[in-house]
């Protein structure tokens, strides 16, 4: 399927470049609807890979790229369950999202995340699957999970460890603070910082350049550069599930869901 328009995202191919556009209010939170459509996208990837050289992931929402997992849905669905079923449910969700993230991460396409606004939690993890991150200067990146008593669960820690120095990883994960695009570029996370509103244009210009290269060489280079992290990704799911039923997490999620605090994205 070379084009698709769903409730949470759409995709199309033009001039050898596939574009996946996230578009679900308020800020592309990843819940059951987004996950199901991301799975459709992952299933369509082999076909897109035949007709394309590059993939750009962007957001149509003014608020930003993606605010991460839909915590309200996660809490609402898991809260009524007993601990064993709660873990089974969250493990199933994580296994599904990992399959999508792994398909993106290992796609033979050269992948570019075009970021504006926030890329938080799972949104940051989605960006980390991409080969290049191009961010406008108002973009912010954050892993706030520890504030909820959790760790990132969509493959973020192994990919962050792969791409950045360990002290930066510790800073981002252990403080849960958000960093701006300039800082993200200075630590090696972001490849290009653009003017406000220009990330997608620059991503398209970059993709157009990549399309001039020999496809097989680009694929070989990517395979050589980008290691597969299977064992660490499995371990991340295990740790997330071990933490998930702790009372502190339940309390943290409830506080987030019920919060009227002016900073709900920063629990």
């Amino acid at each position: 399927m070379n084009s698709f328009h769903g409730r949470a995202l759409s995709w199309q191919v033009a001039d050898g470049v596939a574009e996946l556009v996230l578009d679900r209010a308020p800020c592309n939170e990843i819940g059951s609807i987004a996950l199901a459509e991301l799975e459709q996208f992952a299933a369509a990837l082999p076909l897109l890979e035949r007709d394309s050289h590059a993939l750009i992931i962007s957001s149509a929402r003014n608020e930003g790229f993606c605010a991460g997992a839909d915590l309200r849905e996660l809490y609402g669905e898991s809260h009524p369950l007993d601990p064993a079923r709660r873990v089974a449910s969250v493990r199933d969700f994580l296994l599904r999202i990992h399959r999508v993230m792994n398909a993106l991460d290992q796609s033979p396409l050269t992948t570019i995340a075009a970021i504006h606004g926030i890329a938080f939690g799972g949104g940051f993890e989605l960006a980390l699957t991409c080969d290049l991150i191009i961010a406008d200067k108002m973009a912010r990146f954050c892993f706030p999970e520890l504030r909820l008593g959790l760790i990132p669960g969509f493959g973020g820690i192994p990919r962050l460890k792969r791409d950045l120095g360990n002290s930066v990883v510790r800073d981002l994960i252990l403080t849960g603070r958000s960093i701006n695009a300039t800082k993200a570029q200075s630590v090696g996370l972001v490849s290009q910082v653009t003017a406000e509103g220009d990330a997608l244009r620059v991503a398209r210009a970059t993709a157009a350049q990549l399309c001039k290269f020999d496809r097989e060489s680009a694929i070989a280079a990517k395979r050589f550069i980008k290691p597969i992290l299977a064992e660490e990704l499995r371990r991340e799911i295990d740790i997330f599930c071990e933490l998930f039923t702790r009372p502190a997490v339940e309390a943290g999620l409830r506080k987030f869901v019920e919060s009227t605090d002016p900073l709900p994205y920063l629990p």
Binding site: C27, G64, G117, T175, S178, P262, L263, P264, Y265, L266
Partner: protein
């Protein structure tokens, strides 16, 4: 050395410009969430503007509990 008053004034200028509000309507003691009518994402936008303008990093957790421009300016001062 920039004074707290100067920093406060720069923050008020930035907020007025970013949220398109006349500067003279903003005061140092204003609760910026209420006065600007902003949500958490817009507050993060303001934080990014501040970091760019002052060439500093201001961790967002330092803003927890901060609502008025003057206290925000104090947090900025400690990073200059």
């Amino acid at each position: 050395m920039t004074t707290l008053d100067e920093t406060t004034d720069e923050v008020l200028q930035l907020a007025a410009q970013h949220f398109n509000i006349p500067r003279e309507q903003l005061y140092a003691t204003d609760d910026f969430f209420k006065k600007l009518g902003i949500n958490s994402l817009q507050a993060l936008d303001l934080l990014t503007r501040i970091e760019q303008h002052f060439h500093i990093e201001l961790p967002d957790y330092e803003l927890q509990g901060v609502a008025d421009f003057r206290t925000l300016a104090e947090r900025i001062q400690s990073r200059l």
